[in-house]
């Protein structure tokens, strides 16, 4: 890395002259077991300081996939990024990274990227032009436009957004910051009751009781990784206790499936519940600060029961449970529950938190997250477009043509602008409407920074040569300024990089750093500058006019079902849809890939005679969509739901034409946000059918003890799962007599001894894993990590339909039927991967020893030896072996996506079996390092990709023989069990049973 503030040195520019023929490594060659060879050795021109062929170089950077601003480490090999991992130094994500963040790599190498600047041609298509030409065209148009200029940009704040703001205002133009899921209701509520226009930080780890009013904090709400880390701490039985988590919403999303209790209330009635809970607490405590008692007086449990459809007892119980736990935490403002009066819900929750004394404890103000401008501004801008007031509109990091409901008419209004420019990397819906495309660098290709919150300055640096002929957006602005001169002449920085570094020099000064060079160097190494968050801001509750308002939700349309829509956990607002990892990594809730679905409750399905895959037509006043049904026990009978993020009309081959856009059923935003919960729909069975591209088989455990649970009481007593069953009177029936058992054990011991030969007698580590189901939320970040690390091909929808997805690591989601009939089932998540059995059934059946046991306890799979009899897969009781039915290696990574491949892992050819290897390439690499330094491997020195990514830290990997190591200790946990223990296959993975809370406790 560069030590100074000089322009980027030649080093960084001179990685590889020809990607694809790296020295020695032949890094690009796609080969499994065939012998296609790299024929040429092409040397570097100049030795790069930070690249050694065959050795990974890591760069620190910042994730830009959502506004949370997590820190990332980018692993590069031979001058190309191959993997993203969390930056352990970063205060937001502390080394963890979600699926969306990891999939940024597929954004970088996306085949749908715009490869060069383009201009609209006469025939309506786009024509490639030079950058000079492109800059000149834009400068020319800006010169003509005067102040009739507007910019629509994404929300993240940083040097670029500052420059953009100054640049726009220099022209007298307007800047609208637009973020589709911008938490505007939360901010509105905070303005209302606390007088603060900001988003607070939430400490889920500290909370002893959590209630979420439809806030999907594990998926899109706030800072998901940070939330999940905290949630795992409070809810994951880490301190010997579990904070109860209640989810109050009409539909259970992934967050809701992790709840101990689901309070299924009428859509849009959350505020009533929150206010009634506050009412009960205030009444119980005789609390009458700021006139609360009177303000809450009318919101009795009875009134709330009427509004929400819950029992009065339930409301009172929830209130008292919430009040009894100190501190507790209530959150609200999820996208899915965003209805016209959503701000009221957030205000009510603010009151509830205030009453319970959580403000300053688990809810802290003062480290504001960046804010977008809200839809009012965008609506005004659209009006201006419509009126022909704007000559030039520049769209940066935003795709309003897709993320706004069609009924808002944005596309038509946008079309009226004389000259539309986009800096998008991809030809998304908005870019497709533009006249000039100025593709910007990907975040991994450019210098940039973001300020996700106070005290955190995340830095981005180019980790590789740009894949295409693109420029950093800042550079585009500066070049245009130079060309256009006039009002823009004051943006005189020679380059964007120079501009950024100047700013950082200034930042060093602001932060009181004297040595700017050292500051810069440290920031580059750590991925930014992290200061402690400012102390929580004191807030006081003020009730506007001493009142709290509650509006009964109203819905447009005459249909009999309330229409719910929600952010897809992988695709977010749709921006993930062009990344095959996110499309194929199933939705953690429904386990459906690649297309949209309509969720209906089992009761509704019975009434309407619907089964999975039958196509229904949903009609709202704003439109009609058709999608196949998914019968989902986590949704109310009076509602149906479709996820957001599908139904792109542009945005590349992976996204385009898949599924439907749920926004088509919604009305235009009124006020500051899109009312995602605002319509009622009628449901009509079309008679069509389409098999769901689901990765789920039978979602019940059928008494097989796969994802085990243990009651909190038993867990606290330190009972094993078996003992807990016995205590409950569910002891298992043992078929063998004690004598037989002894004989079996003796025989298997003898077998084990007979295996000691050659390498197998050596003192080698035995690799093992422990997975804590109490912590696992089913978020599937580990799955994406596994895809990234191990070159797992995405096989596409048609192959998923045939059950051929290659997920070495999959998250199984089982429904657990409740004790009392009629209640909705609860969910259990269990990551299922190769168990690396000691007595692996897959091994002896392989005729060619392609499946065999390594001396260090791994279940090895030698791809190049495999002839593809597939007996191993038949004989695997966990069904974690995956077969290359087709030449997935030639189909899964269309250029330049193949550049993402990890050169340390063989890309498997067709006809070959593959499976989890416990990231053997990492084991071997660490062994090489240790050997070069003549030392043993240290515990925690490395870990598998899944364990590294897990935001809950539920997966721990290591040497089982190392008694002091984390794995060995976790394996001693009484909650530990092996899946299908009775088969005597001796798995190397120990699962720790999920700790269950009774719903009413």
């Amino acid at each position: 890395m560069s030590d100074d503030l000089q322009p980027p040195t030649v080093d960084r520019r001179r990685f590889l002259t020809v990607l694809g023929t790296a020295a020695g490594g032949g890094a690009m060659a796609l080969s499994g077991c065939s012998t296609d060879r790299v024929q040429k050795l092409v040397p570097y021109l100049v030795q790069s300081e930070d690249q050694v062929p065959g050795v990974a170089t890591w760069y620190a950077s910042t994730c830009t996939e959502c506004p949370a601003g997590c820190g990332v480490h980018v692993r590069t090999r031979e001058g190309r990024a191959v993997k993203l991992e969390g930056n352990p130094d970063h205060p937001v994500n502390q080394g963890k990274l979600c699926s969306r963040g990891q999939a940024a790599l597929q954004g970088l190498y996306n085949p749908g990227r715009i490869k060069a600047p383009m201009a609209r041609a006469a025939d309506g298509g786009f024509l490639e032009i030079t950058w000079d030409d492109a800059i000149a065209r834009l400068a020319g148009k800006l010169g003509e436009a005067g102040n009739r200029v507007a910019v629509i940009s994404g929300a993240p704040r940083g040097t670029f957004s500052d420059l953009l703001a100054e640049w726009t205002s220099a022209m007298g133009g307007r800047l609208v910051r637009y973020e589709s899921f911008d938490h505007e209701p939360v901010r509105a509520a905070n303005r209302q009751v606390f007088g603060l226009d900001q988003l607070p930080a939430h400490d889920f780890g500290k909370a002893r009781y959590i209630i979420s009013f439809g806030a999907d904090f594990l998926e899109s709400w706030g800072s998901p990784i940070e939330n999940q880390r905290g949630f795992a701490r409070s809810h994951g039985f880490s301190g010997g206790d579990v904070a109860k988590f209640v989810y109050a919403a009409p539909r259970r999303d992934l967050t809701g499936l992790n709840a101990d209790e689901w309070v299924s209330l009428k859509p849009g009635s959350e505020a009533a519940l929150a206010l009634a809970m506050a009412n009960v607490l205030v009444a119980d405590r005789g609390d009458d600060r700021v006139g609360l008692a009177s303000a809450l007086g009318s919101f009795t449990p009875a009134m709330a029961a009427e509004e929400t459809g819950l029992e009065v007892e339930t409301i009172e119980r929830l209130a008292r449970e919430f009040g009894a736990a100190r501190p507790s935490l209530a959150v609200a403002g999820g996208v899915g529950s965003q209805h016209a009066a959503a701000a009221e819900v957030c205000a009510a929750v603010n009151v509830l938190n205030f009453v319970a004394g959580n403000i300053g404890e688990t809810v802290r103000f003062g480290s504001a997250l960046p804010a977008a401008d809200g839809h009012t501004e965008l609506a005004k801008l659209a009006q201006a477009m419509d009126g022909g007031e704007l000559a030039v509109v520049l769209v940066h990091d935003a795709n309003p043509a897709y993320t706004l409901p069609k009924s808002s008419g944005f596309a038509a209004r946008f079309a009226k602008v004389g000259f539309k420019v986009s800096t998008s990397m991809y030809l998304d819906e908005t870019a497709a409407l533009c006249d000039l495309l100025l593709p910007q660098h990907h975040a991994l290709e450019r210098w940039d920074d973001v300020r996700p919150r106070a005290g955190v300055h995340g830095l981005m640096q180019p980790v590789m040569e740009p894949v295409f002929n693109t420029l950093p957006a800042g550079e585009i602005l500066l070049r245009v300024s130079r060309k256009a001169a006039g009002a823009l002449a004051r943006f005189a920085a020679p380059t964007w990089d120079q501009h950024l570094k100047t700013r950082w020099q200034a930042l060093a000064g602001e932060l009181g750093e004297r040595d700017a060079a050292a500051f810069w160097h440290a920031a580059l190494q750590r991925g930014g500058v992290y200061r402690d968050p400012p102390p929580p801001q004191e807030v006081t509750l003020t009730l506007p006019e001493g009142r709290l308002s509650y509006t009964s939700p109203t819905f447009e349309g005459a249909g009999s079902f309330t229409f719910l829509t929600y952010p897809h956990p992988m695709l977010h607002d749709g921006r993930g849809a062009n990344k095959p990892w996110l499309m194929e990594n199933a939705d953690p809730v429904t386990k459906i890939t690649w297309h949209s679905w309509v969720e209906v409750s089992p009761a509704t399905a019975r009434t309407l005679d619907l089964r999975d895959g039958e196509i229904v037509e949903l009609t709202s006043p704003y439109g009609t969509v058709e999608a196949p049904v998914y019968v989902y026990p986590g949704i109310r009978d009076d509602a149906v739901a479709i996820p957001l993020g599908f139904g792109h009309t542009a945005y590349g081959t992976f996204a385009q034409g898949r599924g439907v856009n749920a926004l088509d059923l919604l009305g235009a935003p009124r006020g500051d946000f899109v009312p995602y919960l605002s319509t009622r729909v009628s449901v009509r069975k079309t008679g069509g059918y389409r098999k769901l591209a689901s990765v789920a088989g039978v979602p019940r455990q059928l008494g097989r003890g796969i994802a085990e649970g243990i009651s909190l009481a038993a867990a606290k007593k330190g009972l094993t799962v078996e003992q807990a069953y016995l205590e409950e009177g569910h002891g298992r029936h043992e078929i063998n007599t004690a004598l037989e058992l002894e004989a079996i054990r003796g025989w298997s011991e003898e077998q084990q001894r007979a295996t000691e030969h050659g390498d197998y007698t050596r003192e080698l580590p035995q690799w093992g894993m422990a997975i804590d189901l109490a912590k696992c939320t089913g978020c599937s970040a580990c799955v994406t990590a596994c895809y990234a690390e191990n070159n797992i091909p995405t096989v596409g929808e048609s192959e998923v339909l045939r059950g051929r997805e290659m997920t070495w690591l999959r998250i199984e989601r089982y429904w657990e039927d409740p004790e009392e009939p009629g209640a909705p089932p609860s969910a259990r998540f269990i990551p299922m991967l190769c168990q690396h059995c000691g007595n692996a059934p897959c091994e002896p059946v392989c005729p060619v020893y392609a499946a065999y046991h390594t001396a260090d306890g791994l279940n090895g799979q030698v791809y190049n030896r495999c002839v593809g009899t597939r007996y191993c897969a038949n004989n695997c009781p966990y069904k974690v072996r995956y077969f290359n039915w087709y030449k997935y290696n030639e189909q899964a990574w269309p250029e330049p996506l193949h550049l993402q491949l990890n050169p340390d892992v063989t890309v498997r050819a067709r006809g070959v079996m593959e499976k989890c290897t416990f990231c053997i390439q990492r084991i071997r690499d660490t062994q090489h390092h240790a050997r070069l330094e003549d030392r043993p491997i240290r515990d925690g020195e490395f870990t598998t990709a899944c364990a590294q990514a897990c935001p809950s830290d539920a997966i721990v990997f290591g040497n089982v023989k190392d008694g002091a190591g984390r794995v060995a200790r976790l394996k001693q946990d009484p909650r530990g069990y092996h899946v299908l223990e009775d088969l005597n296959v001796r798995p190397a993975i120990t699962y720790l049973a999920k700790v269950l809370l009774p719903a009413e406790a």
């Binding site: 007979a754 295996t755 059934p841 046991h853 001796r986």
Partner: protein, 178 residues
């Protein structure tokens, strides 16, 4: 007399070739010939026949010994190969011993049968075809419904033999010169 060669290149044997339709007649003839101490009879028949076998009173075929040797070799090869190959590059699979005899029984069994059968066939090829006598006259009807008896005989003995054949009931008797 010129020496004629058969297609196989073997020197043609002189002798009397008699054809019988009746099996007991042929058996009588064979018994009579053997009583006279005539050796080197060749009896043709379309199918094996008890009466003729009894009349000829051959020793039991040595094929069985070869079959036994072949089978035992196969068995030994089976166990030898599997065990040696297992220890030549010991690979642990499924927690089973490296050299695991029970599964190898299958291989040894199959090789026992295979080599046993192949050596049996080889033995027949050796004894019946390769070591069989050459140059003995043959008539195609012997594969149909006629029993043939060939008596090696010089011209002077031939008359006597022909006489015996006729009296035993041969339907056709002829002398085949060298």
């Amino acid at each position: 007399m010129a020496v004629r060669k058969t297609a196989r290149g073997a020197r043609r044997k002189p002798g009397v070739l008699a054809s019988f339709v009746h099996v007991d007649a042929a058996a009588d003839a064979i018994r009579a010939l053997r009583a006279r101490g005539i050796k080197g009879l060749v009896v043709y028949s379309a199918a094996p026949n008890h009466e003729i076998e009894e009349a000829l009173d051959h020793r039991v075929s040595p094929v069985r010994l070869i079959t036994l040797i072949g089978g035992l070799t196969g068995c030994a090869a089976g166990f030898g190969m599997t065990l040696w190959m297992s220890y030549d590059w010991p690979v642990l699979v499924g927690g089973k011993p490296i050299g695991s005899v029970p599964p190898y029984v299958v291989i040894a069994f199959e090789l026992t049968i295979l080599l046993g059968a192949l050596s049996t066939v080889a033995a027949v090829a050796l004894f019946s075809i390769l070591m069989g006598r050459r140059g003995v006259p043959y008539d195609p009807k012997f594969s149909d419904d006629t029993i043939g008896v060939f008596v090696p005989a010089t011209q002077d003995l031939a008359r006597q033999v022909e006489q015996m054949m006729h009296s035993a009931g041969a339907v056709e008797v002829r002398y085949e010169g060298a």
